[in-house]
């Protein structure tokens, strides 16, 4: 096909009156016929309708078309439709191009039909120019390993694993700790129903252990993940328990003879465990573990185990390699422990405890047998203060709301009242009571009806009476508008939920990003709340942000469903708009370059020393950042090649370039924002000539230079908002770095700074887009044609020199 002379058919759509009401479609069609390689042009009422599509299919056959351009609406709307249409006629779907003359012309320039028609002609010319250079592409297919990895065995991970296992997929559930269960297993009761936490979680944990499709790999660390969607290779290290899992019956006779006690971290160091033990009675898998840091090797356990011979002091760490098609990250959260004496006297005063410590206190199986007592004297407190938002909603600590603390504080208040009734006074110090979701507000009412005192205000300090060890809580009561002091015998701090300790490492190993708050970033906050930017890796539960139990469970199930969309297929299709390296041009062969590998947001490029860089196609998301960064122009992004984009630039600026603004718009935010300006009928001047790229990271500095060389009035590069909106993780950052340097250089060369603009438009900012173009056009007029032409004349020879190495691309070969 590539050797064949292009035979292009152009189809101009009326879209009823949507386009034809403003634009002279006849004129556009006639104009299209004059363009090189266009052998057929026609206009029809609704190109996307069945008769319209029939017409395309028929024309392809009759006129032997090998390229199709449809001038109609946004490619974001109907590109897939027409691709399918041309494919049905036997044409490769990537030999199709769209000119968006509705959202970008008729709808946003209704009062200037003449200019709108001229713009439509330009858009068609640009599309035809690109179409001439289109190449057929084949969707890439990768086989799918139909197994899943779930990282983290908390309640979210448990549900994700169970759902996938029930769907018939093999699941590896990797847990760092000795037992699955997560934080939920540490809790006493759950809000708002007050059912016992382990009583409802325990059976689920057992289900996991018993399920034939689930393999629990506990007491293990994630070492590395390689590969891509459908084909991940995961290395996990199983830490030695010094107990042979198959032989251990979980009887606990070894524990009973062990002389060594050490603080049980799982019990918030409030209780103890033995050197051979399980963290808690309901542990799953029920396998004892020897902590060699503490074991004195008296081998009493060996004797106690006897003929079962489950104890093996010679065990070594074992590395296992798993092959999976999808990964669910459910690594949960940690509880913020205030640094010693830093917040409300925690660590300095014995009777100030955290809420999680309170859970262990009031839990019947806890270290005090369920008795709420004070550490200072072992007596039951007659008054308790529950202080909320400790560390959360605090710009000096953690800015965000931890979400579930209001509810568990209410639960603690109710539990205290249920246990001790009138014998205990309970005060809740809160900023706002957040009790949304089902049954939560009723729970709040219940606490109030039970006689809990609610005081609204941020606690300023807690001080201890050195004699009684009571605590004086100082707060400005917002309701009264005056400072209040309350003396209590016990203070419980509802501390923030924070990203779990290993998040940094997990994000590095999996190449998934973290937000400003440290939690993992979802792919899109609204529509892809479970996906990560890496295909095939999904998030569940509190690792993405603090969540309560029902929310974590739902997300676990959601993540399982998302993973199943991959695992249920034999093969996974990847859009072929990926990057390709020309090994003959790659500098990395001769010198140490590797720029592409460092700039790729997905780590999809490998540049081993002395060898040309390689793109791991299945990991490539097609942003084109590498193609723009490559100093040797050795990388091509398929369907968005340098030659194609240069052709578009040249077509756009063929006539009166000084009056035009050439815009590079990223597909996901800016182009969508511009579409929205059109669909919202926000009118702006018809000066813009847009070029769609998948990501602003694709915008090569040479594109900008070429535009100015050709005399463009202005150049705009529009991207997703910083810092986290980019759909390719960090393409907008790479573009920003590149363009800042370029802008400085152009200004130095004599370009008026306002002629080169970088801006950020979200898909929702139609108004902003219209205002931006209006403002730029006003400035363009202010500068005046003469000044622009003068600047251009001065710049041209310099830019020609700089672009000389692009000559080949310019000829389009």
């Amino acid at each position: 096909m590539s050797g064949e002379e292009p035979r292009i058919g152009v189809f101009v759509c009326h879209c009823g009156l949507n386009i034809a009401g403003v634009i002279d479609v006849e004129e556009v069609t006639e104009y299209a016929k004059t363009l090189p390689n266009v052998v057929y042009a026609v206009h029809n009422r609704y190109t996307c309708s069945d008769p319209g599509q029939d017409e395309i299919r028929k024309a392809i056959k009759e006129h032997n078309l090998n390229r199709v351009v449809v001038a109609a609406c946004s490619p974001r709307l109907h590109e897939p439709t027409f691709r399918r249409c041309v494919a049905e006629a036997g044409l490769n779907p990537y030999l199709f191009e769209m000119a968006n003359i509705r959202e970008f012309s008729s709808w946003c320039h209704p009062s200037t039909p003449r200019e709108a028609t001229e713009k439509a002609k330009d858009l068609v010319r640009m599309a035809v120019a690109k179409a001439r250079l289109l190449a057929p592409l084949k969707p890439l297919k990768v086989p799918v390993t139909r197994r899943a990895l779930v990282l983290g065995g908390g309640i979210a991970g448990i549900n994700a694993a169970l759902d996938l296992a029930e769907m018939g997929f093999k699941v590896y559930l990797v847990e760092k700790k000795e037992s699955i269960g997560g934080h939920m297993a540490q809790l006493d009761k759950t809000f708002p129903t007050l059912d016992c936490s382990i009583c409802i979680e325990g059976p689920r944990m057992v289900d996991v252990a018993r399920h034939p499709n689930i393999e629990i790999i506990s007491y293990a660390d994630l070492l590395s993940v390689e590969g891509y969607v459908g084909n991940f290779k995961v290395k996990v290290r199983k830490n030695p328990r010094y107990v042979i899992a198959e032989n251990c019956t979980g009887c606990g006779e070894c524990r009973d003879v062990c002389p060594i006690e050490f603080p049980n971290e799982w019990d918030m160091n409030m209780g103890v465990r033995r050197a051979i033990d399980i963290p808690f009675a309901q542990a799953v898998p029920l396998i004892y573990t020897i902590n060699r840091d503490h074991c004195i090797e008296c081998y009493k356990c060996v004797d106690a185990c006897g003929a079962r011979q489950a104890i093996d002091f010679s065990q070594e760490p074992e590395e296992v390699e798993l092959e999976v098609g999808a990964i669910i990250v459910a690594t949960g959260y940690d509880i913020y422990i205030p640094e010693e004496g830093n917040l409300y006297g925690y660590g300095r005063y014995s009777n100030v405890i955290t809420a999680l410590e309170f859970e262990r206190l009031i839990l019947a199986a806890g270290p005090t047998g369920g008795h709420v007592i004070r550490a200072s004297d072992g007596k039951r407190p007659k008054s308790v203060a529950l202080i909320q938002c400790v560390g959360s909603r605090d710009i000096n600590k953690y800015e965000y709301c931890s979400g579930f603390c209001c509810m568990y504080t209410l639960k603690h208040a109710i539990q205290l009242k249920e246990h001790y009734g009138r014998e205990v006074e309970v005060y809740v110090f809160y900023m706002d009571m957040r009790s949304n979701f089902k049954g939560y507000e009723e729970f709040y009412r219940r606490a109030r009806e039970m006689g809990v005192t609610f005081i609204r205000g941020r606690v300023s300090s807690v001080i201890e009476d050195p004699e009684t060890k009571n605590l004086i809580v100082r707060v400005e009561d917002i309701a009264l508008g005056e400072p209040v002091e309350v003396e209590v015998e016990l203070v419980v701090l509802a501390t923030a939920a924070i990203p779990s300790k290993g998040s940094d490492e997990i994000s590095r190993i999996l190449n998934i990003s973290r937000g400003a708050d440290g939690f993992f970033m979802e792919s899109h906050p609204k529509l892809k709340p479970i996906d990560t930017p890496v295909d095939g890796i999904f998030l569940a539960g509190a690792c993405q942000g603090p969540k309560d139990i029902p929310y974590s469970v739902s997300q676990g199930c959601g993540a399982a469903a998302r993973a199943a969309t991959i695992l249920s297929k034999e093969e996974w299709e990847i859009e072929p708009i990926i990057a390709v390296v020309d090994p003959t041009k790659c500098r990395n062969v001769k010198v140490k370059c590797g720029i592409c590998a460092t700039k790729c947001p997905y780590g999809a490029i490998k540049a081993p020393q002395g060898q040309p860089a390689q793109v791991i196609t299945a990991m490539c998301h097609g942003c084109g950042t590498c193609a723009a960064e490559c100093p040797a122009d050795a990388i091509t992004q398929m369907h968005f090649t340098d030659a194609q984009i240069f052709a578009q630039i040249r077509a756009a600026l063929e006539e009166n370039p000084e009056d035009k603004i050439l815009g590079f718009l990223c597909n996901w935010c800016s182009y969508a924002g511009a579409d929205l300006a059109g669909t919202s009928r926000f009118e702006y001047p018809p000066t813009l000539r847009p070029i769609r790229v998948m990501c602003s990271g694709r915008v090569d500095r040479d594109f900008v230079l070429e535009a100015f060389r050709l005399g463009a009035g202005m150049v705009l590069v529009a991207a997703c908002h910083l810092p986290y909106d980019c759909h390719y993780i960090s393409g907008n950052w790479r573009m920003k770095e590149r363009m800042e340097v370029l802008a400085r250089m152009l200004t130095k060369l004599g370009l008026s700074p306002e002629r080169f603009r970088v801006d950020y438009i979200s898909a929702a900012e139609g108004v902003k887009f219209a205002e931006l173009i209006t403002e730029m056009t006003r400035k363009l007029k202010e500068l005046g044609r003469e000044r622009i032409v003068a600047e251009n004349q001065k710049l041209k020879p310099v830019l020609e020199r700089m672009l000389s190495r692009k000559r080949r691309a310019k000829t389009g070969s």
């Binding site: 003879v257 062990c258 002389p259 060594i260 006690e261 050490f262 603080p263 160091n269 409030m270 209780g271 103890v272 503490h294 004195i296 090797e297 008296c298 081998y299 009493k300 060996v302 004797d303 104890i311 093996d312 002091f313 010679s314 422990i337 010693e340 925690y346 660590g347 005063y349 014995s350 009777n351 100030v352 405890i353 410590e357 206190l361 270290p367 005090t368 007592i373 550490a375 072992g378």
Partner: protein, 300 residues
């Protein structure tokens, strides 16, 4: 309340504490009883106890240091100290977990006193005891102490009692040898050999003699040589700690008398305290070969 690890030190004691919400551990070193010997440091499984020697030029005796982060309150040091200088308490109660769980033996302090043989008025043992652990009392028929014997009318009805604070006694046997009436019979806790290579000793050095808790065990002879006496040596090794020349004092422990036990931790401690030979000998002699085999099988 987070778990707290604390340390207090006075001239008389060094105390570390682990305070948990509902449990409190403490380990106290009584500096008045501690002779700064080798034993606890050698057996501590976590290397939490260390003998700190003075730096060059510093004029200070060596001292014991206990690491509050490392100690796990197992009580091995408590069980092994012949001078009873260490004391472990959990929730205020004296306890030695490793002994309670039969993971570690107690030392056998075999001291028999037949006070019937003691004449009223003799206090040789009391005066002899270098650690001042013996109390000799004269009592009447009802067991009431008699202050002034001379004033008591019927002297033949008086009795003598001899009490030894056994838990602090390293059994040096001095009292036994000094007793003129053969009233005391003891057996050492630790058997072994000690000798001093005087040719290696720096001129005029008396460090070992001064460090030795038993005055008769290391002495300066008339010609200025240091003489070791196996008869009274308790083989604690305090001398070796202060000795400035390596190899000048050779000290070997061969047998340690202890309550029966069947434990890898003790075997390891025993090996450190005596030698592999010493441990093997004990294993053989106490028909624990089976245990040894099972341990070795697992360790192989």
């Amino acid at each position: 309340m987070p778990m707290k690890l604390q340390k207090f030190e006075t001239d008389e004691q060094l105390k570390i504490e682990r305070i948990m919400y509902a449990r409190r551990y403490s380990l106290t070193l009584d500096k008045r009883r501690c002779v700064v010997c080798e034993l606890c440091e050698a057996v501590c499984p976590r290397e939490a106890i260390r003998v700190v020697k003075p730096e060059d030029g510093e004029q200070a005796p060596p001292r014991l240091e206990i690491d509050v982060e490392l100690c796990q309150y197992c009580g091995i040091c408590n069980a092994v100290c012949p001078f009873g200088a260490l004391e472990l308490k959990i929730n205020g109660e004296k306890t030695i977990p490793v002994v309670k769980f039969e993971s570690f033996p107690r030392l056998i302090r075999d001291i028999k006193i037949d006070a019937e043989k003691c004449p009223v008025g003799c206090t040789v043992c009391m005066d002899t005891c270098p650690l001042k652990l013996i109390t000799v009392k004269v009592v009447d028929e009802e067991g009431r102490p008699v202050e002034n014997v001379d004033l008591y009318p019927e002297k033949e009805r008086l009795k003598v009692t001899v009490e030894i604070e056994k838990e602090y006694c390293p059994v040096c046997r001095l009292c036994e040898y000094k007793c003129p009436y053969d009233a005391i019979h003891t057996q050492k806790i630790i058997y072994g050999h000690i000798s001093v290579k005087n040719e290696l000793c720096p001129e005029g050095c008396r460090e070992c003699v001064e460090a030795c808790p038993i005055p008769e065990a290391l002495q300066i002879s008339e010609d200025g040589r240091v003489v070791a006496n196996d008869l009274f040596c308790v083989y604690c090794g305090a001398c070796r700690i202060v000795c400035p020349v390596e190899g000048a004092i050779s000290l070997e422990r061969t047998v340690i008398r202890h309550t029966p036990v069947h434990s890898g931790a003790w075997n390891k401690a025993l090996e450190k305290l005596t030698s592999t030979k010493g441990m093997a000998k004990e294993l053989r002699s106490r028909a624990l070969i089976k245990v040894k085999e099972s341990v070795e099988r697992r360790l192989a």
